[in-house]
Assembly symmetry: C2
């Protein structure tokens, strides 16, 4: 597991094939790469599209979902992208979008920077070829999320996108984001390649990844055929492309303040079914940083209520001047229900149709310095109970 | 409008960076580009994945949706792809996936062949740089769909994917597919970039594109800001990536016989809402070829019923031998309701929530030799009625 930091790199192999553009223009000419994005303002979808240049997004895991998410954000003209992965490109990855056969052998982060800098030289790319689940990797990961960027005045990142393919790495991203109070979005694709999900996690406000066993979309495929020892997971460019698209769409809505940001959205491709739900934080969460963020969130309620009221009043008074305006329901809906912190953790029966718990419980996880052992995840009794739930769901 | 046919080309610029592979293998090794696809068999999702090599798919329109659809099918190892477009690559296309700045000025079909042949040299690529809405272009289009391929014993294509961005081109694809009795899938993305849809069209069995005014997903954005004269449409790589993913996923389900093939699936990205519905053919359809296909479909009902019965009995008897097996509900559901050919054309009130008619009526269209005039589409009275419907929907 190499741990190599390549910051602000623009390798010669990925030399830009267009020159940098100082300001985004809405001018409708063939040689303007931003005209169709700036048109979102004229169409009344986004109030200020160019603000996207002020934002930094970290993508953890540059595989089938993360690489496509990175390309989408790059083509949208995001200000700064931080890319984390420790793996190298193989021909076995060619059944998903993004990487090309001639990149086999390169680290995924280097190959991504090569391709992305050629597509849009305006985006500042930071590439971290490291494993965040090691102690040293976690330290570098945490430091990079907090670091001052040469790109902008503000420190830190605006959003973290988790595109990793395993439980341990998700728990590490969860730990880092809980410690930093950093909003993040999680994504996943099933081992049978036919379902996936995205989820928004706001420390203190929504369930964290340790508050309850992770939710996955039931595919209807017999789960007994999955997860055999040494069996290679299936994957499809379609499922991963859809999940990456839904993830980055949610990220754009969150960053640019339009539409409704989804809390949890599942994708069952066999039935084209998209279950949605919300998850409140668990006051008994095993993650101390999560409990601390929950306490802060409760304490800041009066200030949030006042800000929301001021904003709503300001919008009401300017409504006649701006006839085309979309309320961001995410930002103004915080006044309701928030004193109630009940968790759905102990009531699995209220899950929407088509969603199941991936793992029985997350309590045993103790943070990145002492990663969960595989024996804890493979607890026989819990897995048997989970299997019964899955069987019941598949039989229905 | 150039009309240039470039068949079976593999330009030097897109020289393959891996050698061709004779048979797909499920072996789990890093240098096998098909291991994660062949794993779909072991997972019980697909019965015979390698059959994908026998199939030919035509993609009309190699823009934001069509290019990504082509890349997905190429990475899945489709047998043969036929690509149709008359446009060239511009920097203004760079806000969507696939094309790269160094391809500016190339025809979209040539640029696509360059990229796709580099990704997977096993796929036979046919590139048609022509405009299907001209008389000569339509003739070439029709002939190419029927032609014997050097790739396989069978003639013709197995599926046509329409990824064009205008009504006239969709009506031309509809005309060709009705004439040939060719199953096709239509796709579209709204001008405000935040919604889209896919639709399955089986001549004689489902509504054709002329049976009823096209359905689009209501985005909630004020439609009065859209479709102003000379205003450039907005587009996002996210929405187009999701629509391409849903489209190719539906194509894979149709070709490889797994899951449920969607008839109509909408995508409202502002609310992450996915309306679904079915549309029966209109016995009074203005397209004579559609009416002929409807008649044939009715007449073949007894043979279809017998085949379905035989298939169900065969599956029932082998069920114990193959515990992991997904019924293809699409293929075995034809015994119900099919004698009823009522159309939803004259009952717009039964549309599912979030769907609206894009145009008031399609009757005025007379085939590719006499394309519909813009004045027919812009009929003031009909548009006013449509505007009232849209306003009511947006206000709700």
């Amino acid at each position: 597991m190499r741990e190599r930091l390549v910051a602000m790199m623009n390798p010669a192999a990925g030399a830009a094939s267009r020159s940098k553009i100082k300001d985004m223009s809405a001018e409708v000419v063939d040689n303007n790469p931003y005209s169709r994005l700036m048109a979102l303002q004229r169409m009344g979808v986004v109030e200020n599209y160019e603000r996207i240049r002020d934002y930094s997004v970290a993508i953890v895991g540059i595989g089938g979902v993360g690489s496509v998410a990175a390309e989408m954000l790059t083509r949208c003209g995001i200000g700064r992208l931080l890319l984390y992965d420790y793996d190298t490109v193989e021909l076995a990855n060619m059944n998903r979008l993004f990487f090309r056969p001639e990149q086999v052998g390169m680290t995924k982060t280097d190959a991504a920077v090569q391709t992305l800098s050629g597509i849009n030289p305006d985006v500042v790319l930071e590439s971290y070829s490291l494993n965040i689940t090691t102690v040293k990797g976690f330290e570098t990961f945490l430091a990079s999320l907090k670091a001052q960027s040469s790109h902008e005045r503000s420190t830190g990142v605006n959003l973290v996108l988790s595109c990793v393919d395993n439980y341990e790495a998700r728990m590490v991203v969860n730990q880092a984001c809980n410690e930093l109070g950093q909003t993040w979005m999680e994504s996943g694709v099933s081992e049978d390649a036919v379902s996936g999900h995205i989820q928004l996690l706001v420390p203190g406000e929504t369930a964290c990844f340790a508050c309850a066993p992770p939710l996955v979309v039931a595919s209807g495929v017999d789960e007994r055929t999955l997860k055999r020892e040494g069996v290679c997971a299936a994957s499809l460019p379609t499922t991963m492309g859809v999940v990456a698209g839904l993830l980055v769409q949610n990220a754009l809505k969150y960053l640019l303040n339009f539409g409704q940001v989804s809390r949890y959205l599942g994708y069952n491709s066999l039935k084209d079914y998209f279950p949605a739900m919300e998850m409140r934080p668990n006051p008994q969460c095993s993650n101390p940083a999560c409990v601390l963020r929950q306490k802060e969130y409760m304490e800041s309620k009066p200030a949030r209520d006042a800000a929301a009221k001021t904003k709503m009043e300001a919008e009401a008074s300017t409504e006649n001047e701006c006839p085309v305006h979309l309320d961001n329901e995410w930002n103004i809906s915080v006044v309701d229900d928030e004193t109630e912190t009940s968790s759905i953790r102990n009531t699995p029966d209220i899950l929407p149709e088509g969603l199941v718990r991936e793992l029985p419980d997350a309590d045993s996880y103790a943070g990145p310095a002492a990663p969960v052992s595989s024996s804890a995840i493979d607890d026989d009794d819990d897995l048997e109970e989970l299997q019964r739930q899955l069987d019941a769901l598949n039989a229905s």
